[in-house]
Symmetry: C2
């Protein structure tokens, strides 16, 4: 008798989105946000000692849906389902895997995302916050997660792991809460936003600021800046890929065989049409102000947010498994290796796994399975 | 007695901008443009045999000012002055170096640029062309140059050399006029626009299209889309650099020591302020529609513009000296090497010089002196 092709996932329970409300969240900048409500989900079971939790922190355009399905008919599971589940490298038979929507989450209009940000009604005014919402940092994201863990009675994480913006949260966790983190797995990210990343994040947001519907962030009563948001998400989509992807898939093919791009500015190449469609699709569930707040949080990031960039990295004491790819245009290999060098300069163990692929930055999500064995082993190391 | 530190340039004659009007220029697309007026300049003297001409084709944001000064007080000479002049690698004691402003030149409002494009008044309507101006290709640029050479009685070029978009013109010259080109020096460019470049050129233009003042290209009677154009030129500026440049110069320094970027969306990092200023400065002499026409011409480029990308490169028979850098984000090393492989696959001699530097694509302009000896030798080869 043949075994089912994918026995581990065949019996996974459905995932349920939950939420937590922090009545008064104080930001690192000193502002207070009433009713900070955020979504979260978990896979596996918290053990009696409450010491088997693995926290997954999400990327810029992501959310807490890291694995599993909400409904058996879902088109796709959570983004890291290949490594999270029963029998998988992050084995839900052993670990309690938990993930949380960040504040100012990009997917403010995604029915599966629960977040608080500029699009949320400020209970003090009865109107959406808009750009009056306090500026947040990656550290603030981490502190929303400590609040959730506190309510669950989890004092120490078996591991924290995240991709891209999620890796920044992972570095931040290890640096600022060394007593609460036993292992860190930053994926496709470095220990600070350098000038190059700061500049590109500025470029990402430019189309939103140029869209007349953005209107300084005051658009919740009218038409939102959908075109600008779609263009911003188009840049992100392109930047997160590699030339091998676009050249290999599209070459110089026209979007329509009857519409030569040489004949009209309306006629596009296929790669343009695909990116336009991707940007427009992502814009439908996203919020433009949330995009700008996320870009700001990423620009402001350096591990520890303290007196010195180096000190923040030296404060990391938990063993670190860094996963990245040299084809990454957003967090280039040099920046990742420099981060690793600083962390281990005082003796903290750091291992690096280099992913191979043609998808650039995105391989940190799509090709994470290549690091499955390394992740499994790292999680069981004493 | 000490020699002057720079004797070669000390006695260079001043450069004079000239112009040519092509009464009726027919594009490859079949449109006719009346009174196509374009600027040009030259350094050195055309010999009696008219066989010592070196054509310099310019880059996206450039113009025909490749060397020398218009006035002794000019702040800077032409962009390749380090290799063009008396005693320099492209020695004006030997060669007649000539360069021409392209049609739809970006610097439509630069007093030193003479071009014809959307910002030009269409003599048939008495109003600026706007987006009714015919779409042009790199091949069209080349044909404006053949028209100039015809009037000067130059039937064959000793060499054609250009950087970036100028390299595309150099490939095109050699492929479509093999009898008129003895040598080719493409710098920081490849033999076709691949999907990745097509996509980025789309991204470059997005801020212009989003600026409400762009108005479908109809802005010559009112306020031009200066903000969108500045954002577009900011992307170009960043893309043409390397992370080593931004990280090395700016790091995480604030634009103003009193304005913490964490406190307000108005407070920027220094790298943002520098790029904003660069974009705004370049926008003052540029035209937004011209930008879009240039982006289109670059997207449409593949050597020969014929039935096959490969055939266009195989049609190149003149020896080729390719100069590039592996830090180039716009024309990556892989694309340049693939171009070289195709050209030499039928026996055409191809040499490659790799520039070293921290400025990315821009090293093709700033660091061209590294290739000076190779250029000098290549120009004297029989």
């Amino acid at each position: 008798m043949l075994a089912p092709t994918n026995p581990a996932t065949a019996y996974e329970p459905l995932v349920e989105k939950q939420s937590i409300t922090i009545p008064a969240f104080t930001t690192q900048g000193g502002a207070t946000i009433p009713d900070m409500t955020l979504g979260w989900e978990a896979y596996g079971t918290l053990n009696a000692a409450r010491d088997n939790a693995v926290l997954i922190t999400h990327y810029f355009s992501g959310n807490s849906h890291a694995a599993g399905r909400y409904d058996a008919d879902d088109a796709a599971p959570g983004y890291w389902d290949s490594i999270i589940g029963s029998g998988k490298p992050i084995d839900t038979d052993t670990y309690y895997v938990i993930s949380m929507d960040t504040p100012v989450n990009l997917g403010a209009h995604d029915p599966h995302v629960i977040t608080t940000g500029p699009a949320t009604v400020n209970p003090d005014t009865g109107r959406p916050w808009g750009m009056a919402f306090p500026i947040l940092t990656i550290r603030d994201f981490v502190e929303t997660q400590t609040a959730l863990l506190d309510t669950l009675g989890i004092t120490r994480l078996h591991a924290v792991m995240g991709a891209s913006m999620g890796s920044l949260q992972a570095y931040e966790w290890a640096s600022t809460h060394p007593d609460r983190v036993a292992r860190v797995i930053p994926v496709i990210g470095s220990g600070w936003a350098d000038a190059d990343l700061i500049a590109w994040l500025n470029v990402w947001g430019a189309p939103i600021r140029l869209d007349p519907h953005w209107n300084g962030g005051e658009y919740y009563d009218g038409e939102p800046p959908t075109r600008g948001l779609a263009e911003a998400l188009k840049i992100v989509t392109l930047h997160a890929q590699s030339p091998e992807w676009s050249n290999g898939l599209f070459g110089r093919t026209w979007a329509s065989p009857d519409a030569n791009p040489a004949d009209s500015f309306d006629n596009r190449f296929q790669v343009e049409a695909v990116l336009d469609a991707a940007g427009a699709a992502r814009a439908r569930t996203s919020d433009a102000n949330h995009f700008l707040y996320l870009a700001k949080a990423n620009q402001l990031f350096y591990t520890g947010h303290g007196d010195s960039l180096v000190k923040g990295l030296l404060d990391i004491e938990a063993p670190v498994l860094i996963i990245h790819t040299n084809e990454d245009l957003i967090f280039p290999g040099d920046a990742v290796r420099e981060t690793a060098t600083l962390i281990k300069s005082d003796g903290t163990p750091v291992d690096i796994v280099e992913l191979q692929g043609t998808r650039g930055h995105l391989d940190g999500v799509l090709s994470i399975g290549q690091a499955g064995a390394a992740i499994r082993a790292f999680l069981t190391e004493e």
